[in-house]
Each structure stands twice: as C-alpha cells, then as structure tokens.
C-alpha cells in the first residue's frame, strides 16, 4: 500500500543530488491513508488514498527556492530540481540565511508497525458498525470516523543529511446525537491497537448523549471549569501556534517576549514538546533532518523559550531544537508534539471538589481574539454540564467562551493524572484534564 522506507529514502537522496545549485535538500512524504466515515447510523464515505510528493529546496549562495512534484520519474524530478534552482536564482540574497544544516545523530524510536491489513476496508467497516450499534441500540444517531494513516518521511541533503522514518496511527471519533440538541463525544488517537476499543468508544459517546438531554440555559459569567483533555488540547494547540514558535518570538508577537525566565502561569504547569515520547505518533526529526528532542517551553510555570529551526536558531543565537516545517512556510518552526505534564488528580476528584462550575467535554471552532495575550473564543459542544455540590448536574446548552489562556492557566485548581493523545498526526497533543478556577463564558447558543 505504501512504498518501502528504502525506496523513499532513495528518492530523497536522488532528488537532493539532482539540483544544479550550491547545495540542496529534498523532503519526500509517501503516504497511504484510509478513512471510513459514518453518519446517520450508516457508513456514507469510505475512502483511501495513495500519494508521494517530493519537495526540493535549492541554495545558491544565500538565495533559496523551492519546487515540488508528485511525479516521481527521473525526468519529472529533474524538472522539479531545475525549477527549485530557477526560483533560487531569482530570489534575492538573504543575509540571515545560515546555510542548510549538517547531519546530526538521530534517535529513531523503535515502534512496531501497525498491521495495516488488520485495518482494511472490511475491518474498519466492522469497527464503525460496532461503534454506531451502541447508539442505534439506544435510539440515538451516531456519526464519526475510523481512520488509519501510514506515512514515510525522508529528508536528504547534499550536506549529508539522511533521515527517514515510518509512522502510522489509528484515529477514531464518535459523535452520538440524542435529538437536535443533545450529544456526546468520544475519540481514540494513537498507535496502540489494544487501546482502540470500538464498542467501548461508541458506548461512552452514547452515554454522554443520553445524559445531555434537556439542556438548560446558563447566564454568561466567570465560572470554575473542569476541561476534559480534548478541550485542554485545543488550548495547548493555540498556545503553540501563537506563542511557542521562534518566528512569533523574533517578530515580537509572542507572549514569550520579555517573559523568558519569568513566571507566566501557575507553577504546577509544565509544557514540553516531545516527539520521542512513547505516547505520541510523530517523527523524531524535523523537515531539515535535524533531531527533535524533549524541549521545555514552560517549566514549573516559568517561560523557557521558543522552538527553533536552523534559520531562527542562527537569527536568535539559540540552539536549534529541531522544529523546522517544510520550507517555505508562513509559520516558522512550530511544536508539533506538545504535551502538558500530568498532575495527580482524577477527573472524578476534580468534579467532586467543585461546588458550582461547568464540565466541558470539548470545544468547537476556536479562534484568536488577541494573539499576544492568547485570548481565544470558541464554543463548547457534545457534553457540557453544570457541576453542583461536587457532582455532574444538569446539561447546559452550548456556551461561548472568550478567555485568555495564560490567565486561565494562572488559576489552576488541579491537573489530571491521566493524559490523552488528541489531535492528528500533523499536530498531536498529549493533554490532561484541568480544573481552572476562572473561565469566562460570554454567550450561549440561541
């Protein structure tokens, strides 16, 4: 279904050395993915895709240009290499360009590959049926996905970079709907097939959906909240995008400016980027073939620093943390494997400790109100409940929040002891549940 690691590595090497330039780098992504999608208690989309793409960066002095193609015959790769060199010839010199990085020792985690045959069309359909049967049996309606991804990433350069790695994962989601305004949610993301239990997933979502019937209004205001891991993951994702990248830091738009070494959130909060964690799914090198490592971003509430790539490491005179995205891109280096350190409190104990508050299963359509203060707005969905006297109480109609993440993370009541891998392969987040004392709800679904 996918190419072999050696094939992909050879394509990258061949492409890097085909460029008529001073130096060159090639990234090859070869991917097989398949997704079974269901809604209305039946599978309505069942898709699979195979593709491979090579992206070539040519360097002439300090000029760079990039070209890409998914045609992998020799003539097409040569044409792509020439296009990259031509782009470099037209680009002006960039005095800040440090040159392509040289190879470094890589640590490739040993991960047994998933048996993709075990997740073929029939098996995914069976898993989907197990999930949606849980809703159908209770008179509910399920929607969601069962998906597998199999990716080989290779980076090669004329400086001797030669990095290649295979990654794969399973992702399943289920939304269970109980009439027009009550729903529940559950998801699995990871590469441990033993952890993907379709019937259990479907049952969990259906139970929340049943519990969500008869949602009540809640007046806007500031509440204590217990955020489930998927809701926390959304906040970490935006924190990474807005604040932890070296480009935002260099341009002066990151909250880390003037805050390095200072306390920015509760001292119990520590946030890292760690592609080597056994719990995550990412590649252990970046798109320049440089090693990723466990990188502290906030440690004990103290701002540590941004993630970098070779360009911004040189520009800022900092270490290269190995977080390059494929060049060129508008974002600069970003953390793609964020995690928040676990605490010591179960979700049940968090709820038990709250006299009056709100439990949030997940957020929907979060966006930025103020990038420097990391103020976000978004909605709750698929299981929002009042907490009263230490117990989940009435379901609440979906709420809008407008809230600064840093200020919320400065009012931590407790951090969950269990973490869940959330998101997708391109940006996986390992998040615990959080009890936050101050959270501003500013509106409600009409």
């Amino acid at each position: 279904m996918n190419r072999s690691l050696d094939d992909v590595r050879c394509i990258a090497d061949r492409a890097a050395h085909a460029v008529p330039a001073d130096a060159a780098e090639a990234i090859v992504l070869s991917r097989y993915s398949a997704l079974t999608r269901f809604a209305g208690n039946r599978i309505h989309q069942n898709v699979a895709e195979s593709d491979a793409q090579v992206s070539i960066r040519a360097v002439l002095g300090s000029r760079t240009g990039v070209a890409s193609t998914n045609k992998l015959d020799d003539a097409s790769i040569l044409r792509c290499a020439n296009a990259a060199a031509d782009a470099a010839r037209h680009a002006p010199q960039d005095a800040d360009f440090p040159g392509l990085p040289h190879p470094k020792q890589l640590s490739i985690p040993s991960r047994a590959p998933l048996l993709l045959d075990a997740y073929g069309p029939q098996e995914r359909a069976e898993a989907a049926r197990e999930i949606l049967d849980q809703s159908a049996a209770r008179g509910l309606v399920a929607a969601g996905t069962v998906a597998v991804n199999d990716t080989i990433t290779a980076v090669a350069s004329t400086h001797g970079v030669d990095a290649a790695m295979h990654t794969d994962d399973i992702r399943a989601t289920v939304l269970s709907m109980n009439g027009p305004s009550a729903s529940g949610w559950a998801s699995y993301f990871g590469r441990d097939a033993r952890g993907f239990l379709p019937a259990q997933l479907g049952s969990h979502a259906a139970t929340i959906a049943e519990r969500s019937e008869g949602a009540v209004e809640l007046a806007p205001g500031t509440y204590t909240v217990v955020l489930a891991p998927e809701a926390v993951a959304d906040l970490l994702d935006f924190l990474g995008y807005l604040g932890f990248g070296a480009k935002a830091f260099a341009e002066g738009s990151s909250f880390l400016i003037d805050a390095l070494g200072s306390r920015v959130v509760d001292p119990r909060i520590s946030i890292y980027d760690d592609a080597l964690s056994p719990a995550t799914v990412g590649i252990s090198f970046d798109y320049e073939g440089q090693p990723r490592r466990r990188t502290p971003l906030i440690e004990g509430g103290i701002a540590v620093g941004p993630v970098t790539d070779s360009y911004f490491a040189a520009l800022l005179d900092r270490d290269n943390t190995g977080h390059a995205l494929p060049a060129p891109n508008p974002y600069g280096p970003l953390p793609l494997n964020l995690e928040m350190a676990a605490g010591d409190t179960s979700v049940e104990d968090m709820i038990a400790s709250v006299d009056r508050g709100v439990y949030v299963t997940r957020f929907h359509y979060v966006n930025v109100e103020d990038p420097m203060k990391v103020v976000l707005t978004g909605m709750t969905r698929d299981g929002t409940f009042m907490i009263e006297n230490g117990r989940l109480a009435a379901p609440v109609r979906n709420l809008r929040f407008t809230q600064g993440v840093l200020s919320a993370f400065s009012s931590v009541g407790a951090i969950g002891s269990q973490r869940q891998l959330c998101g997708a392969e391109e940006s996986a987040v390992l998040a615990p549940a959080l009890l936050l004392e101050q959270w501003a709800f500013t509106g409600q679904t009409g």
């Binding site: 999608r37 809604a39 208690n41 039946r42 599978i43 989309q45 069942n46 898709v47 699979a48 895709e49 195979s50 593709d51 992206s55 240009g65 990039v66 070209a67 890409s68 193609t69 998914n70 045609k71 296009a83 031509d86 782009a87 037209h90 680009a91 002006p92 960039d94 073929g120 069309p121 029939q122 359909a125 069976e126 049926r129 309606v141 929607a143 998906a147 939304l175 341009e251 002066g252 738009s253 060129p328 508008p330 929907h364 359509y365 979060v366 966006n367 109100e369 420097m372 707005t377 978004g378 909605m379 969905r381 979906n398 809008r400 407008t402 501003a440 500013t442 509106g443 679904t445 009409g446």
Partner: protein, 480 residues
Amino acid sequence: MKEHIAAALDAATLAGATYADARVVETRHERLSVRTGHVEGVESGESLGIGIRTIANGAWGFAATSDLTPDGIAHAARQAVALARAAAITASAPVSLAPVASFIDTWSAACATDPFTVSLDDKLALLLLTDDILRAEDKVRVTSASMGFIAVRKVFGSTEGSLIEQSYVESQAGIAAFAIGDGEMLPRSYPNNLGGQAVQGGWEAILALDLPGNAPRVAEQAAALLSAAPCPSGETTIIIDGSQVALQVHESIGHPTELDRVLGDEAAFAGTSWVGIPDLGTLRYGSEHVTVTSDATIPGSIGSFGYDDEGVPGQRDHLITNGILTGFQTSRESAPEIGRTSNGCMRADGWQRQPLIRMTTVSLEPGEWGFDDLIADTDDGIYIETNNSWSIDDKRLNFQFGCEIGWEIKGGKLGRMIKSPNYTGVTPQFWGSCDAVCSRDHWQVWGIPNCGKGEPMQVAHVAHGAAPTRFRNVQVGVAR
C-alpha cells in the same frame, strides 16, 4: 487524461460497480511571499492523480492514486469497489442519485495574461516595492506581501456517459502591516486578510489590485490603530464592509444551507445546521432585505465552474428570497430529499478527495443604498472593516467575529477610529435585524480560498458577493 478515465470506469465496472465516475486532476501552483523586507518563499509545485468514486452493493466507495499506470488505475478502481462493498454492511437503503443528463463538453475560465508566463523578477519586484512602502511607517514592525497562482486542468467521466474537460487559473494577492506595541499586535490588510483577494483570472487581476498604491494607507492605519479607542461594549447599530459581510454570509448562511450538513452527514466534524428540511419555503431566515443566491456562473469568481465534480452543470439558485428560506445547496444524492434535482454544488479538493457539497458564489444580493447615504442615515453606531477572527457553533447559530478596524458613527458621520472591534449574535436574530444593504455599485465578489470541511479535511475555493450592510441592536465589544 481521457484514457485514464476510460480505464478507471472499465475497471470499476468489471469489479462490480453499478455506477462509477472518475476525475483526473492536474494542478500547478506558484507562491511568492515577502515578509518585513525578506523574501520568505519562492515556490512552485505540481500534482497529478485520479480519484475514482463507485457505488457497489448500494454504497459509496472512493479511492485515489497518483499512480497513473494501467495497473495503478485498475488497482484503485478495484479498491474503490471493495470500499463500497465494505460500507454496505451498515446501509439501510441503497444510494440513489437524482437524474442528470450526460454531457460531453469542455469549459474554461477567462484569463487574459497567464501568470505563469510573467517572470519571477517582475512578481518579486512588485512585492518588494509594496513591502518597502509598508515598512516606511515607523510603528509598523512586521509586514507581509504575497501572491499565488493555481492552474487546474481536470477531466470528469462517468458510467452514465459524461466526459467533461475543464480548466481555469486562479490568482491571489494581498498585503498586511502589523503594528506592535504595549503588548498588542494590530493588523491592517488589503484587500482582505489571509492572503488578500482571490479570483479566477490572471496577472491582470494582480495589477488591478494596485498593491503599492494602497500600501501607504494600510501602513498608516495600522500605526494609527495603536492609539485608537477600544471597542465599546454593548448593543448598537453596526455597518459591516463587504468583505466582512462575505464571511458573515459564508459562516451563517452558506454552511447551514448545505444539504449534507442539514442531513447530518457532517455532524461529527463541521457540525449540522439549525435549519431543517421542513423549513424550506416557510422559515424566516432574515429580514425582507435578505436575499441570498448560490451562483456558479459569475465570471471571475473562484466559486465558478462549468460543471461540478459529479457532472452537473453550474447554475444559479435562490437560497433565501426576501428573508424566507427557499433553497439548499445540493448534490445528486441529497437533492431528492427535498424533491428536487441537484443544483450542482459537489466539488472535491483535488484528485485525492471525494466530492462534497461546497459553496459556489453564495451572495447577499445588493440593495439600493449608497454607502455615504447609509452612514448619513445612521445616528449612532460603528462601521467595521476586514475580518480578523471568526468562530461559530456547530449548528451555525452563535457566532463571534473580530475585525481589524472600525470607526464610530455619530450623527450620521464617521468619527474616531476603533481598534479590534468584535461583535456576536445568533443567526436568525442577526439577519432579522438587517435593515439596509448597499447597492450594486458597492457590491463585489470576495474569494475565500480556505473553506475547510470534511474528513479527510478538504479545503474549497468559494466566494461571496456582498456590499456594506447595516444591522441593528448587535452586541459589540465582547470581553473588551
């Protein structure tokens, strides 16, 4: 390309498909960006592949591959049939499609000057000149100027006999200045945020934007925002510029009138809709000033095409007529649910993806007001321009938008500048409060090339015609 289509349809039929269609899509793109005096990227690329959609055992299957050898295509076709058969284990009723005539046709969009023939030197010179002008303003710390081009050629064929070849070129450009100070970053962009304006057309469209001519105003306004007044909090009258009305239409009318959302097919990801099929013809969606069309035939719009990705001709249809819901955006599978045939809204994000219902050019039809007259007619309120943030719930009811800039309206005149205005509302009440839409003189089509939907995620290029529009009693200044 046509031989690939024939091979795919034959292989799918032999594998047992009762219906199949196939699309070969070849795209070429080029992107250039300049940021704060540095050329950030000069990049080009190409992609070619085939997507094969089948019905077998009454269910859908879809497979896509970039391997266009005979074996590669046959394998993908058989895979699509196997996927359909697997999906059938949960089917309660077989898929049926609304009838459509078969077409053998070609369609192409106008493009006066092919942007791929313009030299990289000329393109970079325009961006660098514009960026220089933006950076002349001291308080502007970060600047951005970018342009991008896409050329698409695709062939669609089906077992019902259609064979349709289409081609078009899209061009996009925009600039932005960011003023940073006192812990805030304030953007000002032109002609819109997120990369500017996108159209079907060529280099002539880029030149028509006059990026260098607009750069001084953009930079000056960005700098002025640092000392502008904060957005007041409370209920007031707002007048929204055309680009923001376009996004308001997109989020609170375009998406909720996609029939697949209404039927629940997008529930787990993008969400459903507050509108139901029984509402058709009776639901008051907005005031009498609100008439909204879906139109795939507007020249120059990135929402235009000759045929959608299941071979249905592009067409114009009414979604809302004088405030009443009168239509949905549909597909061949969904249209029978409302007793109609497809109005041609199925599109896929390249060869890799199965088509979904996507917006074409969904427009708020123009009214009769002149802009100056509308301001003069407003005693107290805020005029707001250019989106900066958007969020809406999973039923497309509760929304909140942030914008780059605003001005107080006092006694029928624009007053002092307001920084980062935002507003929130609930869809039917908001559109019900619309009491004036500016005329066709102020109406234009805005391209939105970043509309996300579906799993795997698909990004569609859609558009919206809009003019400045007035709304009463709107909550502004949330958490300001």
